[in-house]
């Protein structure tokens, strides 16, 4: 039987599928291409591109490997493999109770016991990427706005907006006060959103901040909480770097603030956490939404069906994170190693004539190259970024990809490589800056 077949160019996909909101055309991703095509290797390719754009934590793997060596049953359902069947069939979106308990306990330890976490409020998701998107689906409708302080993690543009249809309105922060969020900036962002006829549903902060590598101060947290309460909107605190604070007393979680206020009006607060940064396990896809709002917990749990954590992985980590001796030691040593790395890079940059924002957390530093721009604009910034990528062969993240309102700032990661590689990177940068200064001096003499 003949069929009438029309031959257009193709059957349409959804608007979402063809939109650019996945964000993969930004320079943030172009740097990766340069790295992929010519990756540095100590022996095989010592002049290759060094990847300093990836916020991974590779400094404490030996601790994890040592744990696995001494606790082989954690990853294998025991000698008789007796727990396998039950584990393999477990797809309950509540998640393994033992794992939720272990996560809650780990989150408490990371905060030095200054806040308590209830396992019943822990909702599991396949990574913080999923957690952030899920919360956005729950807290906002398409067309609504979330306020986010700049500079922010470039991935938010995709994670929070792409499939949800929600908009991001920036809360502009400036170097004049170390990029801290001010009440004026909050009000200004809110008014801006309202003037564009967008309904503001919440504020999302990252604490410790990516890309600043600094914790949010108590006073600022209190101000933000007061602001969201006044406006009757939500507050999402992405605390995925909470275990990467160099000195534990310097991190104040929103959980502590809420406890100090006796959980008054806390239903508007939600915390996102993950093991990708603190434990260096991004491949295992372990994220969580912790909400003080019962309806959000229930809804998030149901929605997590779309993004469950493998029960195999839940079991392994439940065992590991329930081991208090291991977790306490890990948190302490990991912190110390990150602090040392941070000092190395900041000192090295200083010797090269480059200043950084004073940081106290995270896997990166926020470097200031604004004095060296040919022009104090985004294109001036991208120009120097391109030069650093092509001549110095370092992939770093330009502030514009983080929506920074000032040109010339760059995020430089330090924990995703060996100490030797970091030294090589610093040496290259040093030489580059030396050359540039000499060229400038020559020009000024002419």
């Amino acid at each position: 039987m003949a069929i009438e077949i029309v031959q257009p160019s193709g059957v349409g996909l959804s608007k979402i599928a063809v939109s650019e909101t996945h964000g993969e055309n930004s320079p943030y991703f172009a740097g990766w291409k340069a790295y992929d095509e010519n990756p540095y290797h100590e022996k095989d390719n010592p002049s290759g591109v060094i990847q300093m754009g990836l916020a991974e934590n590779q400094v404490s793997f030996d601790l994890l490997e040592k744990y696995l060596e001494s606790n082989q049953e954690a990853a294998s359902w025991g000698k008789k493999v007796s727990g396998f069947k039950e584990n393999a069939l477990f797809q309950d979106y509540h998640g393994l109770l033992s794992f939720r308990k272990a996560m809650a306990s780990f989150m408490e330890k990371v905060r030095g016991g200054k806040a308590k976490f209830d396992p019943e409020r822990v909702v599991l998701t396949a990574g913080a990427t999923a957690a952030n998107e899920l919360l956005t689906f729950i807290l906002a409708d398409p067309g609504d706005a979330l306020l986010i302080p700049t500079p922010y993690y470039p991935g938010f543009d995709r994670d929070l907006r792409w499939r949800t249809g929600v908009e991001i309105v920036p809360i502009h922060c400036e170097s004049s006060n170390n990029f801290q969020i001010t009440p004026e900036a909050l009000e200004s962002a809110y008014d801006h959103a309202t003037s564009m006829n967008m309904k503001v549903r919440g504020v999302l902060i990252t604490n410790p901040s990516n890309p600043l590598g600094a914790t949010v101060q108590r006073k600022v947290l209190e101000e933000i909480l007061d602001f969201v309460t006044r406006k009757n909107i939500h507050l999402v605190s992405d605390e995925i770097y909470s275990g990467s604070v160099f000195h534990s007393h310097e991190f104040i979680s929103i959980a502590e603030i809420l406890e100090s206020r006796n959980h008054q009006d806390s239903e508007r607060c939600h915390i996102v956490y993950s093991l990708s940064k603190d434990l260096g396990l991004p491949g295992f896809r372990v994220g969580t939404v912790y909400s003080y709002n019962d309806q959000v917990v229930t809804t998030a749990r149901r929605m997590s069906s779309f993004t469950l954590i493998s029960s195999q992985t839940q079991l392994l980590l439940a065992t590991m994170l329930s081991d208090s001796e291991f977790t306490e030691k890990y948190i302490e040593i990991n912190r110390e190693r990150l602090r040392k790395r941070y000092e190395t890079i900041v000192d090295g940059l200083k010797r090269a004539g480059i200043e950084c924002l004073k940081g106290n957390a995270g896997l990166f530093c926020w470097m200031n190259l604004s004095p060296y721009l040919s022009e104090n604009t985004k294109s001036g910034e991208l120009e120097i970024w391109k030069t650093i990528m092509e001549e110095v062969r370092l992939n770093i993240s330009p502030g514009s990809s983080c929506r920074c309102s000032e040109a010339g700032w760059f995020r430089v990661c330090f924990a995703n490589m060996s100490e030797e590689t970091l030294e090589v990177a610093l040496l290259r940068l040093h030489e580059f800056m030396d050359t540039r200064r000499r060229e400038r001096n020559m020009l000024s003499v002419l």
Binding site: A17, S76, F84, N87, A88, E133, F284
Partner: protein
């Protein structure tokens, strides 16, 4: 305070399908500790072949220990979050899918997108193929979870393609046209059809003719076809499974627009019983779909630890060949057990050759031919004889009286106990019907035929044994 999506019931958890599961949680059967508890016959899990996997694991402990070629690969795996997935894993998945299709199709690992379970795969495809407010047509009866998976966050609508028992619930051109017209009447834009092959809840594979009807329809209307083939390796008797991916080259459509319209969903939750591990995937020849879906998979990646383990299991071809054969044999045996026991108490099933369940005809047990009566019957079975089975209405069946009964998630003993309870129940219901009829006869001069007698003798001789 929360979004519309959070406040509405579109998560679908008020349906009887989910309610039954909840009741079970409160009072689960245990042969020793709770012999009068609820037996769970509403969960389509495959528990029949787990110990085959267990013995494989015992012999291959290096794999779970993150060891390979004498060294540790833990760090490498822990850091691996590339949404393209572990190459060896995709290669093994593609080859496994080829095996399931009797090597009649070549499957390219580069056309595989990994997702955390088929729940995620189905939702992701909706996000890629349809805008909020668009429609996907789905043949009834269908898996209750689709109401949540396809519609909740995407805003996509489902319009049913009504299938009826008169032709064993097969899809007809007429039903397709009617569904399409129905969508148009509501001013809705149809973007595609979603078929489940083998079918849940029917347990049947689609015939070539049926697949052709669907392909022809979609090519004329220029709409997508999503073929959910997650039960493809549960086929235990003839006819053999025909994937939509085979139908295209067979009709010489491999260079046509049809190639860009077809997308397959797969998962290891049913065939391998690994529902907790969240291993799902999308397979498509459409480059744009692959590109968009791959990026979207960031929201639901498979744990690299699990990718590594499964890659090794699937890579053991000798084991997998044995597993598939043995798994099919066990499913067949269990299926026959359920069907024969039901037959002995006068209950017929739709003839089926796949899946983890039977589609059971209990229309003769209804007090009348309505969905209220079906709900009443379901409730009685749940509360009086403590069996949780899925009523056809939860699967959007167009005719009341059909139920899905699972057989692969319980032990043989539990199935025996269930059937014993069913026997007693059916005898009571029939007894009540006879008494009722006798009372009616004594007040009337016309002899009446009971629904019971009707139900057994009508077209059922064409249905299953």
């Amino acid at each position: 305070m929360l979004s519309k999506k959070a406040s509405v019931d579109s998560h679908g958890e008020e349906s009887s399908y989910f309610m039954g599961l909840q009741e079970y949680e409160k009072n689960p059967y245990d042969p020793v500790h709770n012999p009068s508890g609820i037996i769970q016959l509403g969960l389509a899990e495959n528990q029949l072949s787990m110990e085959l996997l267990e013995s494989w694991l015992e012999k291959n402990s290096d794999v779970t220990g993150f060891k390979e070629d004498g060294g540790s690969i833990f760090k490498e795996l822990a850091l691996f979050q590339d949404y393209h997935g572990l190459p060896t894993f995709k290669k093994e998945l593609a080859e496994f899918m080829e095996e399931i299709r009797g090597k009649r199709v070549r499957m390219d690992p580069n056309k595989v997108v990994l997702t955390a379970g088929s729940t995620s795969a189905n939702e992701t495809l909706m996000f890629c193929l349809a805008d909020a407010g668009d429609v996907f047509l789905i043949p009834t009866p269908y898996y209750p979870g689709y109401d949540r998976d396809l519609k909740w966050r995407t805003g996509v609508e489902i319009v049913p393609i009504q299938c009826t028992s008169s032709n064993y619930f097969r899809i007809t051109k007429f039903a397709l046209e009617e569904a399409y017209k129905q969508a148009q009447k509501q001013n809705l834009n149809v973007k595609g059809i979603l078929i489940t092959n083998p079918s849940n809840p029917l347990g049947t594979t689609m015939s070539k003719e049926e697949i052709d009807i669907v392909i022809n329809f979609c090519m004329t209307k220029l709409i997508h076809i999503v073929s959910d083939e997650i039960f493809s390796a549960t086929v235990f008797s003839s006819p053999k499974f025909v994937s939509i991916l085979e139908a295209l080259p067979e009709r010489n459509l491999q260079d046509s627009i049809a190639m860009n319209l077809v997308h397959v969903v797969y998962s290891l939750s049913k065939d391998l019983g690994l529902s907790g591990f969240r291993v799902g995937m999308i397979y498509s020849n459409n480059k744009m779909v692959i590109s968009a879906a791959t990026k979207m998979s960031s929201f639901g990646l498979i744990s690299s630890q699990t990718q590594h383990l499964i890659s090794n299991i699937l890579g053991d071809k000798k084991f997998m060949k044995y597993y598939m054969k043995e798994n099919a044999r066990r499913l067949k045996k269990r299926h026959e057990m359920l069907v024969s026991k039901l037959k002995r108490i006068g209950i017929r099933c739709l003839r089926s050759n796949a899946g983890l369940f039977c589609w059971v005809n209990m229309r003769h047990l209804l007090s009348c031919d309505t969905f209220e009566a079906e709900f009443e019957l379901w409730n009685k079975i749940l509360c009086n004889i403590k069996l949780n089975i899925s009523p056809g209405s939860s699967c959007h069946c167009s005719e009341p009286g059909w139920f899905r009964i699972c057989f692969a998630n319980v032990s043989e003993e539990m199935l025996q106990v269930s059937m014993q309870r069913m026997k007693v129940f059916v005898e009571t219901v029939i007894g009540d019907q006879i008494r009722h009829r006798n009372m009616q006869i004594s007040f009337s001069r016309k002899p009446l035929v009971t629904k019971w007698a009707f139900g057994l003798s009508s077209f059922d001789h064409q249905l299953d044994r």
